[in-house]
Symmetry: C2
Subunit: 456 residues, 2 copies
């Protein structure tokens, strides 16, 4: 979509009367206004704050990246900030509070209504990236003994604040979740029926401690749009809605992509990202890999006499290393993805996967090896190289062996790392690179020494 609306909104703010601004800007979607806010000058934002407050501004601020929102807070009075936070959806409010420096958080909490204070405090205690940290306490709760009419009344009473009204959560007198009822079902229900007779008693819920990645997987599998969160006694704590899950899925995907690219975070703030910021995201990997690089140097050093005798073998080093690295990364990516999708839960599945990867590596190794035999020989024959045939042998054999081993290593390493409860996406990359490089180099030079030097 084009974003002409940004200019329109800023235009309106610059030249409109307070009244025109209010009416005009409220015609835009809050997300669009939030986009415009980021583009405004501080002076323009100041004017904006003077025109809007309460629910209106919260609806808009709810669409900002938390970093931006916290930045804008520095332009506002505490009271104004607290009102914004209080009017946000409770789960968003908690996210914002979490992003604030300790002292601000305490100060703002004091300024809030008792009710909001306790609500936010109770949610703040959940660990980051757990079900508890992304749930909301604004859901519709009815009693199993309610009649359809009573339930409807409760629904209407709670509808304004609730984050979703498509599902009603049914609890008993001890607040234990005993069932769910879709809005569709209650609308179609006959008057006088009692909730416990029409509710769905088979509930799928998650503990507040479950990792958000696992929660996201459940949403994807079951096609849920919301999911209840319960405590150890299966008492209702809150619900997670799909809009928050969409963010989780996105985060996790970007994380894996970043790891594979050896960057701490591929997402850049193209407006404000400095060179130093983006350099910092990449340096750690480069440092590790540059030092690992000397492992290969050390190995090659052992074969310097071979190199001196037949410098030609150096010509194919980059190609062999590149191919080995590629097959390693391919196997790594496939395996990491499989681990994330819980494809390898049993020893059995792991064994099958490793065997398949070994076979895949061997198959690709043979195919590429045969092709490269022809190409390499042609390449060397043209330049009338004396050792054309034996070098060609070394190259294609090295490809076959190192592709096989590299593929296997690329699959094995993440599985091993994962078994130590470390995220394989984070740790596997450099390991695979080093192992694969060392293997490929050793194989190639050993073969070269045996096949070429000994035939000189």
């Amino acid at each position: 979509m084009d974003n002409r609306y940004i200019e329109e909104i800023i235009e309106l703010l610059r030249n409109g009367t307070t009244d025109e601004i209010r009416r005009g800007i409220m015609d835009y979607h809050p997300y669009e206004v939030s986009e415009a806010l980021v583009e405004m000058s501080e002076a323009e934002r100041a004017k904006f704050y003077s025109v809007f407050q309460g629910k209106d501004i919260s609806a808009i601020m709810g669409y900002l990246d938390i970093e931006d929102l916290v930045l804008f807070f520095e332009e506002m009075k505490p009271r104004y900030i607290v009102n914004i936070i209080q009017d946000l959806d409770i789960d968003d409010a908690v996210d914002v509070m979490q992003a604030l420096p300790e002292e601000d958080r305490a100060a703002y909490l004091k300024l809030m209504t008792q009710d909001n204070q306790s609500k936010i405090r109770s949610l703040l205690k959940y660990q980051e990236d757990t079900a508890g940290s992304i749930m909301t306490t604004e859901y519709i709760e009815i009693d199993m003994e309610d009649s359809v009419e009573q339930a409807m009344k409760k629904l209407i009473a709670q509808a304004v604040d609730a984050e979703t009204i498509s599902t009603l959560y049914v609890t008993d007198s001890k607040n234990v979740l005993v069932g769910t009822l879709s809005l569709r079902e209650i609308i179609l229900a006959r008057k006088g029926q009692v909730i416990k007779d029409i509710m769905n008693a088979r509930i799928i819920s998650v503990p507040s401690t479950m990792d958000q990645e696992e929660v996201a997987a459940i949403f994807k599998d079951y096609d849920f749009t919301s999911l209840p969160v319960v405590d150890k006694l299966s008492r209702m704590l809150g619900i997670i809605t799909i809009d928050d899950i969409v963010d989780v899925i996105d985060e996790e995907a970007v994380e894996d992509y970043s790891r594979l690219a050896a960057v701490s975070d591929v997402d850049i703030d193209s407006e404000n990202e400095t060179i130093w910021m983006s350099a910092k995201k990449r340096l750690p990997w480069l440092l590790v890999l540059s030092i690992l690089g000397f492992a290969t140097s050390t190995i090659i050093a052992q074969f310097e006499t071979t190199l001196a005798a037949v410098p030609t073998i150096a010509l194919f080093m980059p190609m062999i290393l590149g191919m080995a690295g590629n097959t390693g990364t391919q196997a790594l990516a496939v395996t990491v993805r499989g681990l994330n999708n819980n494809e390898f839960d049993s020893k059995n599945e792991i064994g099958r996967h490793l065997l398949r990867e070994l076979g895949t590596g061997l198959l690709n190794g043979v195919i590429i090896g045969v092709i490269l035999f022809a190409v390499t020989y042609g390449f060397l024959a043209i330049s009338q190289n004396a050792n054309a045939f034996s070098i060609t042998q070394a190259v294609s054999l090295a490809i076959m062996v190192s592709l096989t081993v590299s593929t296997f290593a690329g699959a094995l390493i993440p599985i091993v790392i994962n078994s130590f409860k470390v995220d394989p996406a984070v740790a596997s990359g450099p390991f695979v690179t080093m192992v694969v490089d060392i293997l490929a180099i050793s194989v190639y030079f050993t073969l070269a020494t045996v096949l070429i030097i000994n035939t000189l």
Copy 2:
């Protein structure tokens, strides 16, 4: 979550009476039953089909991967298949039809009710991966002239089939979308009010031709849970719901991840994937890269005399190439991600990004280059290498230059490819690898020749 339910369901099917099976299995979530179906033997599935039909079976089949579902169709009678398809959500039904061979599709269509035939035909005409292809025609439509009571009646009448009832779509007499109304709003509305007076007249809709990736971006930005699809005259065609968008987001993420890993698809069917299947997914890239590899061989060949004179320089080739390749991939990933998020829409933003990448490459190059100067010199000093100092100079200078250039190339290439309306995630990888390798090798050997040979 553990999946004990799979064994439980199969157990039930093996040993239960028809009645026990029906009641027992309906206690599980359809998704869980669909998981069990995949694990069953053909005979067990046959028994399953004999027990269940109609809506029950469709609810279950709706959770299967389309590939599996089409596979199972071969075990069923056409009538049975058609009933399943007709009971699916209309958008899922269309997805299934699309996956069927032309002749089956025609045959099954004939067996459907007139109504379903025309519905499905009308949806089949939309191109894959467009808004039209993922929308459903099962939504709740009310008239702008309706009273709240009339609207409520329509709501209740359409509620059973509708995919979402949280939003009602308001049209005029010409079926033009003129507004939306949330279920929440209509529940809270006063009796007697007319819809056009309480509806939200500012609509955000998408054309049926919009790419699904773009649609997904809108869902993420605006936090929508559903979005209307209209034709050129903004007449209502259907709606897209977030559950389908979750799949799109997932698909796209996996696609980019696969491309970066140089695999056609990182997702494997761990149950049934054969070695040949997974080899095929990786071979194309390996073939391309192996041939590109000879580009580097050709360049090194130009420097064979240098190599012969000082074989030591070969020791650092892998490290330099590895580092250059890594920085190239880092810049590539960051840039592809930025392009997907429409971060670089203006010449201005592109320029800023390229400059930043150039700076990032230079900064990393200098830092790593300085560090490697020390390490390399130490490494060579230990082995009392005669040309320790000049080789060290060549290595660290080569690192500085090639890291700078590689980072820039990694950012520039996807932007250029994207400007040709080609998906940069697909095409950039091999290009970057080749360019980066050639640059790094040339720089290193030129420096080596100048700094070492000329000082011999």
